[in-house]
Symmetry: C2
């Protein structure tokens, strides 16, 4: 993509109300734009990163047998009444009436909707297990929408739901999801821990949270060195000397509901092998997708800008042409065509701006590799990793080999 | 994918209230599930088709320079007041208040949101043109939600918006979008026409609608034979003898607003080459994504089920194993592994059901090719196109060559 065509351009100053690093850098880089408190547009650069994050999640969900789908965002009041959450979760849930006085909730989660779907389509043990997920918008009436895109009133989530014939099967799958979650967060380059925590408005049972270590994190966790095991402040009761205390951001959580809370209230059952009617064992599993975008910036940045991990970077190379004639017909243009034709994602800054401004943008946007083509580089290319200080001159073939 | 694991299974009877063909077949096949009037879950099979439809649209939008992004669904009242649409479109727009009495609209379209974004990020003619699009949910308070998934209260849309420095540039791009739209609908196999029509709550100007010929269509169009040109009933004034009358479904529309309606009211301007302040020339372009799913079924079906065009089919081959031992270790399993490893999308019916039931499901689901492996087929495979009556025995290498 040509920088001159990219919408929008970078911004010199962070918004005045921005305190979080992700807020400052994502807005300055043109990754996101704030529509109102807690509500963000994912601009083309931000959307590219989110697309890569969702693809990593999708691969790991599919690998454990998850089936992708998409559920509605506006729900009838009646379904939420079945579990009592129309009342008990009314603080967090946006509720509305249409012109015919029919009442609706906006999706803050989808357990009730999945259960309604399951009771329509499940009748026999042969129909189980089921594991279905979607990437979709969640609306939560947060009292304070803070931390840039970390805590929004409207945000993207991946939510997976599973139903099983036995508690044993449920708990086996629960462990597989737990492992898949660790894999996802590690693929993104995070230091991640699993904590046992309280379930809030979701369940009375203990649940697991996935915590990414970050200075800006709202949570405090007690980490057992050499493991992925950790404890939340609220449940920690160990010997403090054996644990490290870290700040962390919660990026996922998993809830093993069993057959009580939802299946019993919504009568979601099946006929077992022996002809007996039973309730399904149910669980739900969430990952905050836009929160991961913000978390990545909190974890991977320096004083000049973002430092994207390769796997979620919006482009793989940031090509900078310097000097007159580097637009269209220049050598930078040839390098751009060559790399792009090979399927390498390149952002080409072909504007007539000076080196200082172009390099500052490259540092801000955080694409893993900066390539410079100028009179000085001759028939070679200057290569610089975003996380390195030194530059080196390489042949184009060498650059291609490294980027592929 | 193994049929035994697919959620949900096919349903023998169509819902009692279903009159539209797409409603009956999509529900029976387990492609969609109705949550409430006008609101549908896209189940795994339906989501697979929608993913292919969105990918075709994405390719054509990117080819004309569109940049993908994602805008919020809940909007502040203030923005909609700027154009007066909080009032003028209140019949179609869901409106709500939060617990702090702040008022919001749910997205029925995004012109105002794009304009707000543009005025924050555009200042010079150098920042133009801009073409941005997203796939996102739309909410419309339709008095009658009918026609299966053709007219929903919540549905998926692709909406593209463009802003330009001159009317000439706007109209040039408008024509390019028009061509891209025709390409999209033709790639899906539709007979499509462009009609001039009235703009409704969007604009006073004439707009273009994209109409796919289908018996179930709500619209009547007058088609000029041998062209893509047609007229809507409301604007037709030609010699009826020169035109054919057809029923059609509107699947897209494009609105060349110019610099009045939105840019003037929301003060979206830029400084031109000569230092003069000007308003941007603006247009919006929509495609009903879930409506295309329904339209495809209306156009491509027979009395046994759906007949998906290859490019949007949920799988490329429906593999049926017959006889004992055809699960896991049987020859069908080997064929499944072989095809799947080559990246061919196969739905494998490895259930212990009879041939009649399996073939009826294959016809209902409408995957382009049915492959049968049984004792009778020996070391060959029975190949049958969904839209053919005859079967033939082919070597596996031949089947692979045709499917790749």
């Amino acid at each position: 993509m040509r920088y001159s065509q990219l919408f929008p351009k970078t911004i010199r100053e962070a918004p005045k109300d921005a305190t979080a690093i992700n807020h400052k850098l994502l807005v300055r880089g043109g990754f996101v734009d704030q529509l109102m408190a807690g509500s963000w547009t994912l601009l083309p650069l931000g959307w590219r990163v989110v697309t890569k994050i969702t693809q990593i999640i999708r691969e790991e969900m599919d690998a454990i047998g998850g089936q992708e789908m998409l559920m509605p965002l506006m729900h009838p009041k009646e379904i939420w009444n079945e579990t009592g959450r129309w009342e008990s979760a009314s603080e967090v849930m946006y509720q509305l009436k249409d012109t015919r006085e029919k009442e609706f909730a906006l999706s803050f989660t989808h357990e009730e909707i999945v259960m309604d779907l399951l009771r329509k389509h499940i009748s026999s043990y042969k129909d189980l297990p089921v594991a279905i997920y979607h990437f979709s918008t969640k609306f939560r009436n947060e009292p304070r929408a803070t931390g840039g895109i970390l805590r929004g009133r409207e945000f993207l989530m991946k939510d997976l739901y599973s139903a099983h014939a036995t508690e044993k099967d449920l708990m086996g799958f629960y462990e597989r999801v737990s492992e898949a979650y660790l894999k996802i967060f590690k693929r993104m380059g995070f230091e991640v821990y699993v904590t046992e925590a309280a379930g809030g408005v979701f369940t009375d049972r203990q649940t697991r949270e996935f915590q990414v270590v970050a200075e800006a994190g709202e949570d405090t966790i007690y980490v057992k060195p050499g493991t992925h095991e950790a404890y939340n402040k609220e449940v920690f009761s160990g010997n403090e000397a054996e644990f490290e205390v870290k700040r962390a951001i919660e990026v996922g959580n998993i809830f093993p509901f069993g057959d009580k809370k939802y299946a019993e209230k919504m009568k979601v059952g099946f006929t077992d092998r022996d002809g007996q009617k039973k309730l399904v064992f149910f669980a739900s599993y969430g990952i905050g997708v836009t929160r991961l975008l913000g978390t990545a910036v909190e974890v991977f940045h320096d004083d000049k800008g973002i430092v994207w991990p390769k796997v979620i970077a919006p482009f793989q190379a940031h090509l900078v042409g310097l000097g007159a004639g580097e637009r269209e017909s220049g050598r930078a243009g040839e390098v751009y065509e060559r790399l792009t034709k090979l399927g390498i994602e390149v952002l080409w800054d072909e504007t007539e701006r000076g080196a200082g401004e172009k390099f500052a943008d490259a540092d801000l946007l955080g694409i893993p590799v900066r390539l410079v083509v100028s009179e000085k580089t001759g028939d070679k290319i200057e290569w610089k990793g975003r996380n390195r200080r030194e530059t080196e001159l390489v042949e184009i073939e060498e650059a291609i080999a490294r980027l592929k």
